[in-house]
């Protein structure tokens, strides 16, 4: 389920830890990058790759919020609504996104383009309000900026 390049990277990284199990987050990140989410099949694969019990992998996947436990849209939009963003109107940002995408947090657009999620503090308090889409941070948001970002995310 993982590319040769990723598998080779895992072999290299194994030298840096006492036990292969330390690489579980890294393997899950790779699975998510290649498949978009962590399926049950993916968890079994990770368990086999690192010699871990399957239930342990399940425990790890469900502990960390950034792993998608079900398929998501092409672009997962995570809007920070924690205090620093809240004080700088993240309410309006979230409402605008809900209106534009016609979905509620936790939902995916029917064309599978966007998933909208409410996020905990992203560490962008000085550039609030902020959101993360994939690896990218978008900061100092307002409605116009969001419209521009949405038009660019095809």
């Amino acid at each position: 389920m993982l590319s040769e390049a990723h598998l080779q990277r895992i072999e290299e990284l194994k030298q840096r830890y006492q036990k292969p199990q330390s690489l579980i987050l890294e393997v899950l990140w790779m699975l998510q990058e290649e498949h978009g989410w962590i399926s049950e099949e993916g968890m079994k694969y990770a368990a086999g790759l690192l010699g871990m019990p399957e239930h342990h992998v399940f425990g790890v996947v469900t502990f960390y919020t950034m792993f998608n436990k079900k398929p998501v849209g092409r672009h997962k939009i995570e809007v920070c609504t924690n205090i620093s963003c809240m004080l700088r109107n993240s309410d309006r940002i979230l409402e605008h996104l809900e209106r534009r995408l016609n979905i509620r947090p936790g939902e995916t657009t029917p064309d599978n383009r966007f998933t909208l999620v409410e996020a905990e503090c992203l560490g962008s308090c000085g550039t609030a309000p902020a959101m993360q889409v994939g690896d990218e941070y978008y900061e100092n948001l307002d409605e116009a900026k969001i419209d521009m970002i949405l038009s660019e995310l095809t």
């Binding site: 990284l13 840096r16 830890y17 006492q18 036990k19 199990q21 330390s22 690489l23 579980i24 987050l25 890294e26 899950l28 990140w29 690192l50 871990m52 425990g59 790890v60 502990f63 960390y64 919020t65 950034m66 792993f67 609504t81 924690n82 205090i83 620093s84 809240m86 004080l87 700088r88 905990e120 503090c121 992203l122 560490g123 962008s124 308090c125 000085g126 550039t127 609030a128 993360q132 690896d135 990218e136 941070y137």
Partner: protein, 424 residues
């Protein structure tokens, strides 16, 4: 004070630029020093941890056993997930080599052959920036085996988290590196005795580690004279919320909070009055706007004001802020991030959030204020790690200092009764 952690030098993140400004000279110096002498210098500097607990860094290093046949480890904590905190990100972006140099010196001092830098999963952009810097340092021979021809070996590995505030707690961080769920461990034993894979481990915050080359450059005694004598050094203060110029500002410890807000962060928009300030990340106790006068940004100053310096992530709230909504949002965060191991935290944070929702909706009972306080008091001190305390302190301080805000949201019992009918 000249900025020491984040000097305004263009392209300082590139190793040639960093070297041109004296970068890695302190590593060369440290390689010629005995590990104990480095620890002694850091003790003299009185450097205290910048991750929230203010623990003396030199003392922490001295807990590492000298004679052991086990490998030793250094973890650098870049989980940075406390709401209101965004300072380590600046170091990753603008001055990553200062942290890397500090980590190599610290590893040499405590005898660690491997540094793990743990970074929150959301910061993937910054992880890539730091990885580039680490690769540069390897290429120059500052990292790896026989560093600069010495007998010192230090490897450096970035470990990416995946969205869990609790992994910033040191024992939880270690469990996460070991591939476990990020549950905090019962202490003692402390990491210096029983850390990663049961081996001696030291864990320091990113900013703490970035101070190490500065200490060697200035000398511990001169460093100790910067800022507040009991909590000295340069400090990265993040200011967010209702200010004109939010951002991370470097200053000596001991600056007045009012000066930070007015001078550094450009004051409050519309010249509104300040209703409240959270001084050091969302877990630190809230301070009333009318009690800000004379309070300084250092461990003693904030202790005297009934709060703590935490991560120095200040959140400023103007007079129009709905504080009930603020405390409800903060409590939602701790409820969401509770790892679920300890009952008081797992259940208590949820109960507090439910009650706070009642206040938010103006549906609370008068007795709910004391019920809330009772729950907070029963979480504090009764959990394996400090997340329980972190959830209790904001609630306790909000009730203590803004009780009227809660009282105003109480729905009178009489108004809840059905209107009397004619027959009655």
């Amino acid at each position: 004070m000249e900025p020491l952690l984040l000097p305004p030098i263009p392209d300082l993140h590139r190793i040639e630029v960093y070297e041109a400004h004296g970068g890695y000279a302190m590593l060369r110096k440290a390689l010629e020093m005995q590990p104990d002498d480095i620890i002694e210098e850091v003790k003299k500097s009185n450097l205290r941890g910048r991750g929230g607990a203010c623990f003396p860094a030199g003392l922490k290093w001295s807990f590492m056993p000298k004679k052991t046949d086990k490998p030793k480890y250094l973890c650098v904590n870049g989980d940075e997930s406390e709401p209101g905190t965004f300072k380590d990100r600046q170091i990753f972006e603008c001055n990553p080599h200062l942290m890397i140099e500090g980590a190599i010196i610290a590893a040499h001092a405590v005898g660690a052959g491997m540094v793990y830098l743990y970074v929150r999963g959301e910061y993937i952009k910054w992880i890539r920036m730091v990885q580039r810097a680490v690769d540069e340092a390897y290429a120059k021979g500052y990292l790896g085996q026989s560093i600069l021809g010495s007998t010192v070996n230090v490897e450096f590995t970035i470990h990416r988290g995946a969205g869990a505030y609790i992994c910033g707690e040191e024992s939880s961080l270690m469990n996460s590196i070991e591939g476990e769920r990020g549950y905090p461990r019962v202490k003692p034993p402390f990491p210096a005795q029983n850390g990663l894979w049961g081996c001696p481990t030291t864990i320091n915050n990113v900013e703490t580690i970035a101070n190490v080359p500065i200490i060697l450059r200035l000398g511990g005694e001169a460093y100790a004279k910067i800022g507040h004598p009991k909590h000295p050094g340069p400090l990265l203060v993040g200011v967010s919320g209702h200010v004109n110029k939010p951002g991370v500002y470097e200053m000596p410890t001991g600056v007045l909070l009012t000066e930070i807000i007015e001078k550094y962060a450009g004051g409050v928009p519309g010249n509104k009055r300040i209703k409240a300030v959270i001084p050091g990340g969302s877990s630190t106790k809230i301070i009333r706007g009318d009690a800000l006068e004379g309070v300084t940004m250092d461990a003693d100053g904030l202790l005297a004001a009934g709060s703590s310096v935490g991560t120095a992530g200040m959140v400023v709230m103007d007079e129009d802020t709905d504080l009930i909504r603020v405390i409800s949002r903060i409590t939602h965060f701790y409820h969401h991030e509770s790892c679920g191991q300890c009952t008081p935290c797992r259940e208590g944070t949820g109960w507090m959030f439910k009650i706070l929702k009642r206040f938010e909706n103006s549906e609370a009972r008068a007795a709910d204020i004391d019920l809330l306080l009772d729950i907070a008091n029963n979480i504090e001190g009764n959990t394996v790690c400090a997340l329980g305390d972190a959830a209790a302190w904001p609630v306790q301080s909000m009730i203590e200092r803004f009780r009227d805000e809660f009282e105003r949201r109480v729905k009178e019992p009489a108004s809840r009764l059905p209107a009397p009918t004619a027959a009655a």
